[in-house]
Symmetry: C2
Subunit: 353 residues, 2 copies
């Protein structure tokens, strides 16, 4: 069969350290399952590229990537040299929007062998999915500053939600909930404070619920929802949220399972009109970059989600099983209380595959 | 001396159950310290009032409250009969804005005797202050729906920040940090995603920092900040945040200390041009209302913060000491693993005073 064409973009910071471990794991599944992969390394979409060229990506970035089946992405951001809103809006957020990756899927799971910061929780207690809207909502660069530079300065920042954008993420989330045994969907809102968009969002959730009467739906204001992630994580199965709230929940969820070093994400265009993008949640982590101590699991797991999306379920399962075994038995990086380097942990995962 | 005039507004749900316990505690400090209090009971600012009159508050609410030194508030909201954005914008959020209570101060503390959901944390490990902007930001009813009711529906929701409103909360937070031994301020942001208002907010934080060079400042994107509340709560001393982010952090922080049933808040107009308002963070909690099991501590502690703001430090200290003792020795409500009713726990606190 024609190989899956994958753009490989390490990006910045620990993205460059964890990406080789994903490639090592992909190499292992390639050999074991004969998964045909064509890996296309790309050195732009990084602050290094910005330092050289004054832009995050070349003008023809979209052309270069359009033929790809997926993008495997490390992390982007190096605030010491490029402000975050410049680097992110010039790369990752552009991918999400221009490739209409409107679903950001983020599994949260407590693994055997990973010390849990929540008292008394064991593997199995925490296992849910955050479905995040990924193309609109609170993340915009619309608005501006009036009376700039004076005492009277006023800033407007626009949130934009469309029925098109909202209904499709709600539908996706209901479908996920319908495919799981618990038949339960939790909806993040803040309709008591954010008085225009969030009551409207609640209304769209109600309208979509009418198509899935068998699903039990519960709405939570984002403040109490965050509290419940800590106090009652076993309560959740599929959680759907706007762009910002999904961002918050998909860092908080993984924190409750021990470390954000484990959390993968899939930025999906479910219609496959554009390449989907797979990346760890953790970001470029300038504070630990260069020491070779970053946890490679989120990156490897993201690569596994990519294979699953490409139809390679057996390869996905083997990668996830290898991750589970290494988490349970070691070697482990420091964020998990171990001593292993990124490469040691990555090699151990590849070996088990 | 002239008594402190306090408007007492139980509001809705468990607000009506915990308020009597605050009054019991106030009665005790009144007798013990001779604190002169004039309590003015008010039955509006509630969904019951709305059911009777079609409005949350009478037209002359501002006049009725203007002569007060403070407002002691239970909770508002009864979504089964009044949508939250109607009840909240018609009462609590009106107070915050029209009385220019621009600081929402929310202490977070782990107490002896309170089971902590975070593994291995002990009293002393978690003790910080969330300083939340309380009058503008993400909470607005500005915006609207275009193509309403059609497939092309688009919703705009405005966030509004002013230099006036931002600088004063940052200044207050820096002053709090400067008055504490650790000389440290953490700033919540999301400048990598929310591309107009949050980079501007970061700039205002930098500008204010120039006036407090001795304070160590760290900025955190809200997603990773939530993760750090769970993973490294001991790291925080004073945290300053916009309206929405402060809302989230001040539910999550208390969750990390065991229960939001403990968390008090002070909605302050520091200039005392208007009455300040003191209320528990927990809200009306329809799910547990009517059973007499609500934890009264957040309400009593809010009353203590009120006395402190009114200059009655000794009375505040006595109330807080009583709370500490009861938390350590019981009786405790169910959210703390005990069996006591709201009234039993409230009576125990009053007795220790
Ligand atoms: C009830 C709601 C509008 C309110 C808020 O979000 O400010 C509450 O959650 C709080 O934190 O005081
Ligand atoms: C880097 C940042 C813009 C991004 C986001 O907020 O979406 C990241 O936190 C994520 O969750 O993928």
């Amino acid at each position: 069969p024609r190989p899956h064409r994958i753009a490989v973009i390490p990006g910045d910071g620990i993205g460059k350290e964890v990406m080789p471990e994903a490639l090592r794991a992909l190499d292992a599944v390639q050999r074991k399952f004969g998964v045909p992969l064509e890996l296309v390394p790309i050195d732009w979409a990084s602050c290094d590229h910005y330092a050289k060229t004054g832009e995050m990506m070349p003008p023809d970035w979209k052309n270069q990537l359009s033929g790809m089946d997926a993008i495997l992405f490390g992390a982007v951001g190096w605030p010491a040299t490029v402000p975050d809103h410049v680097s992110l809006w010039g790369s990752l957020l552009k991918f999400r929007r221009e490739f209409d990756q409107y679903i950001n899927l983020r599994p949260v799971r407590l693994f055997d062998g990973v010390p849990c910061p929540l008292a008394g929780r064991k593997p199995g207690d925490i296992d849910f999915l955050v479905v995040r809207e990924n193309t609109e909502g609170e993340y915009t660069n619309l608005g501006g500053v009036m009376y700039a530079g004076t005492e009277r300065e006023i800033v407007l920042q626009e949130t934009v939600m469309s029925r098109h954008g909202t209904d499709r993420v709600l539908k996706f989330a209901f479908e996920q909930a319908a495919a799981r045994p618990r038949q339960k969907l939790d909806v993040a809102t803040k309709s008591n404070g954010i008085a225009i968009s969030m009551p409207w969002w609640d209304g769209r959730a109600d309208a979509m619920h009418a198509n899935y009467p068998q699903i039990a739906v519960e709405k939570h204001h984002i403040d109490i929802l965050c509290a419940r992630f800590v106090l009652q994580p076993q309560r959740f199965d599929v959680v759907v949220a706007s762009n910002l709230f999904g961002d918050i929940l998909s860092d908080l969820g993984p924190a409750c399972t021990g470390t954000i070093g484990l959390a993968p994400s899939a930025n999906l265009n479910p219609e496959r009109a554009f390449p989907s993008l797979f990346e760890p949640v953790h970001g470029s982590a300038p504070d630990i970059y260069g020491q070779g101590i970053a946890n490679p699991v989120a990156m490897v797991w993201s690569a596994a989600l990519m294979l699953q999306f490409l139809g390679e379920q057996a390869a996905h399962d083997a990668m996830l099983a290898a991750i589970e075994q290494v988490l349970a038995q070691g070697p482990r990086t420091r964020d998990l209380g171990g001593q292993a380097s990124t490469a040691e942990m990555g090699a151990a995962i590849a070996e088990r595959i």
